[in-house]
Symmetry: C4
Subunit: 323 residues, 4 copies
């Protein structure tokens, strides 16, 4: 396994990480989750990503049980949570958002569900227009000083809001945000490559990117339409399906990518992940594998990163370029 | 239910809240308190207001028992306490006021009585001329950093003292006050509307207003004098009775208001509450209902807020104007 | 009882307080200590002074047991400790002084002996030439933020060292010292009246003065020499005896004072205490009474403060003036 | 025993201290460790040095058990740990280094192994090029404010990195480093005497020096080669053996020193230790004695410090000077 620093911080994360989104507590049960975590750990993955909102807290409960069961050494792995969406099916107003109250409550609830003393990473899952950034920065700093959180960050925040948080932290001598969790893949590049560009140098921001396979499009499995038993075929993901298909150029670019992968003789999924890892500002790529076989395939990305040559990467860029 | 931010903070309070003053532990017992809290919660009320001084701590003890009993989710409701008057019948000098000692002791005692880990809101119930504001601000900040209090504020402080506290907090990088709890109703408007005016913009101050019914005058129940079995008829409230009747214009204005309410075909109590809610600087209105039926009537304020038209509001202002 | 603010802080101490020095754990046992504390409390005394060094910690152990036994309400009384001399008979180097280690250890040990969660007042019993003032100020501030100490101060520090501590606190935004515990009586006035003069206004310093009776000289009991069964007659106090008798003018002035008290028809002890209380910079006077009868006599100081007229005070000043 | 302040701090350490490196948990077992600690304590030694990396944590486990067993008073002795190398045989990336995560985890693990509530001294065992100094300084400061560490410092850091840490601490109002643990002996002087020279005055840095005997060379035991049953003869120390023998001038200078010691009629080991103690910037010298007899011999350094005259010291300097 390759390890990378989380931005300019001292935390070393595995280049590939295991995310719980849309799998733990929904598409897979405790048994499969345990096999996944065990396999990930055995292959050197040391970051397990989660959020209060994944499966209404069940994703964290299962992950906490599995990690506890496997007796992984607490200092050897990192676990995250995210605050914003709440874990209740119909959250009351104080059960979501980034107020001091919910940041505090969400942290404590995640600690209980994950069965740990501290969260390694704690993300603001979205910006909250109804809470001043200063209130959230203070709340995060308090949790860090209390030893309940090590590094705090954001997910899908506009660059200027991240900058505002960092400026406030500097001014009040509080802990600044350390990382962002943005979507990043061949079909969705702008935010990571352009919008956040100033943040890497100025703040030393790290990124833990999600959706490296473009919600599955880059595996080629939707090349011929969306099967009912696929993730995107499920009613719960109708919103995501529509979003993806709205822009038909995305599916075309995905088809071109998978055709090229086939020509190069490599599996498209690890190739798409390897492409993410070529960006030095990516600290780790989250994979949402639901089966061990998938995870193992994704791990081939590390070899591809060495093996695929420059001209091939150039062709990949060319066929997936936005038009 | 409508929810509003507590000033510019990220905390969302229900527009109507349930206060324990003069009811919990005095006029109503555990059974009625339980029914009240349950009904309030079912109708979306998420803030339960209390103070060390209400019924010498019994108001908090009962509220804590009732909330614990009903198993309300801790992250879904807010509870407050206030420090200043002490809970002892005859407090020793260190058992009241805003010294670091009493702020600390009062917080811990309220946590025990209310059976919670933290107070959402903690108020300085009155200004304490014998304690420097800086000492109180430091003490509140320490409680916030220890996770025992989320937001601190004041109650019935002169505007310049609130401003002094905020300035000290800014200078020393401490948590500033977030809210005030002033009296506010059709017969008592000056402080909220004029004195505090600069605080809303500059400090983002929220208000949790009390006595929306003018100690009952605006319900019309004292239009023909004070019955012995009413709250104001009780010996313990003699001081309040005298204060109210001193200024006879208040009773006249209250009579004019209730007459107009009758003409408009609406109950006077929810109308008086709705009037408070028309002020955007009011974060929540506390109701001191002692029966569920009263609470339900008060909740009609939310509809009235939509239904009553501008000309009616203008007439209400006209008949209640101070002369 | 009269109560006074501890300097400009918000803490209200009784004008007379009970000290444990040279009595608790040495000249009196648990039973007498219990009677003394009970009588003091019944007469409104709310401050019980102690130190790690008094009777090698036994003074604190006995006081803690007695207060616990009497079930005094924690928010109604104040208790102090002092760090510097250590509690061991032959302290190891880290078991004394004002290093961060000993400040921390001494606080925790005092909390255990006194059976409380926090110390109201915590004094640096002497300046420590081998520890930078900054280290001690930081250590005290940390204890305050942890909720283990409320107010910290010094005892018998030169004025400029107190000022240095306050300056450091201001510069680093730490809690400054709140009080001093100096010797003060008719025969020993310079430090409180002259040396500390600038500290009252600039820092709002309070004082908890000790030895109001000049080690007993002002009671007249040594007018005719030192009896073997008196405190000064005991071998352990040989050092103090010598110190007092060295300067023979002190005994002469004490004789003049007691003669005048007799002429005025009042007991000399409460008169000497009342004299201390006439100084508005004295927050409280510690009495080291070893019997309830003595304590009651001392408490007469409060009446004398009202009763004795200006001309009498002038005569007292005249006969005790240093020559 | 002689005691010295740790730099300009208020902590008093014995001039000689007992280190656990290369003995506890490797060359000696619990029984011998217990005898060593007991003898050290009886002779006034009050500092026991350790690190997470010594014998993979066993050195700390044994020391904790032994100190607990002997019931040494917690306020009478100091114990240290060091973070950087990890305690696992093959540490995962987050199980070593100076990231906030490992600093926190290492501290908690050391507290458990040593069976104490706080570490007196906590060292960064080496500089970590992959962690910003600021992250480590904040992490150490947080541990100090939480009461888990008293003084933090570094070991074998370049002077400019120590200065950078102190500057950051000053700027952010955090606790600066208090001490360094460098190698120091007659054969290895440059860092302590030249490189660190500016740090003593500007930062008040203290030093807890290790290897006063030059890995044994200055005892003369390797004068005629390295025996298989000596420390340097063991396979695990092959790296150290090679390092020492690489520079043959070291062995020559060691031979000259032991010859001179013999001429002076004193044992070479305590003489080499006494030489270290002549440097006023040395706060304490660590001895890694593995037998009580060795410890007792080392303790003779204190007498030699008084007894050996200036001309003898000059001759020692002359024969050991680097060429």
């Amino acid at each position: 396994m390759q390890y990378r620093r989380l931005g300019q911080s001292g935390l070393q994360l595995s280049a590939l990480s295991l995310g719980a989104w849309a799998t733990f507590g929904s598409r897979i049960g405790r048994g499969e989750a345990r096999e996944l975590v065990a396999a990930a750990w055995d292959h050197g993955i040391n970051f397990f990503d989660n959020a209060e909102g994944y499966a209404h807290g069940d994703a964290e409960r299962i992950m906490g049980d599995v990690i506890g069961d496997l007796r992984l050494p607490r200092d050897g792995y990192c676990v995250s949570s995210k605050v914003y969406f709440g874990s209740a099916a119909e959250p009351r107003p104080t059960q979501r958002g980034l107020s001091r109250k919910h940041v505090r409550d969400a942290c404590h609830a995640a600690l209980r569900r994950l069965r740990v003393d501290y969260l390694d990473l704690f993300f603001c899952h979205r910006p909250d227009p109804d809470t001043p950034v200063a209130e959230t920065v203070w709340a995060m700093d308090t949790l860090i000083r209390q030893g309940k959180v090590l590094y705090w960050g954001t997910s899908e925040w506009p660059a200027e809001r991240v900058m505002e948080a960092a400026d406030l932290a500097r001014k009040h001598r509080l802990h600044p945000p350390t990382m962002e969790q943005p979507e990043y893949n061949l079909l969705h590049r702008r935010r990571v490559e352009l919008e956040y560009a100033p943040l890497y140098g100025e703040l030393g921001l790290g990124t833990t990117v999600w959706s490296p396979l473009g919600s599955g499009l880059l595996t080629g499995k939707y090349n011929d339409g969306i099967a009912d038993d696929s993730r995107l075929g499920q009613p719960a993901y109708a919103w995501l399906r529509e979003l993806l298909l709205e822009d038909t150029s995305r599916l075309e670019r995905a088809r071109a990518f998978t055709a090229l992968a086939s020509e190069l003789g490599v599996a498209p999924a690890p190739l798409a992940i390897a492409w993410c890892l070529r960006n030095p500002h990516v600290s780790t790529v989250l994979t949402g594998a639901s089966r061990v076989s998938q995870l193992l395939e994704n791990l081939q990305a590390l070899e591809l990163l060495e093996r695929v040559d420059t001209s091939a990467w150039r062709r990949i860029e060319a066929v997936t370029r936005e038009r």
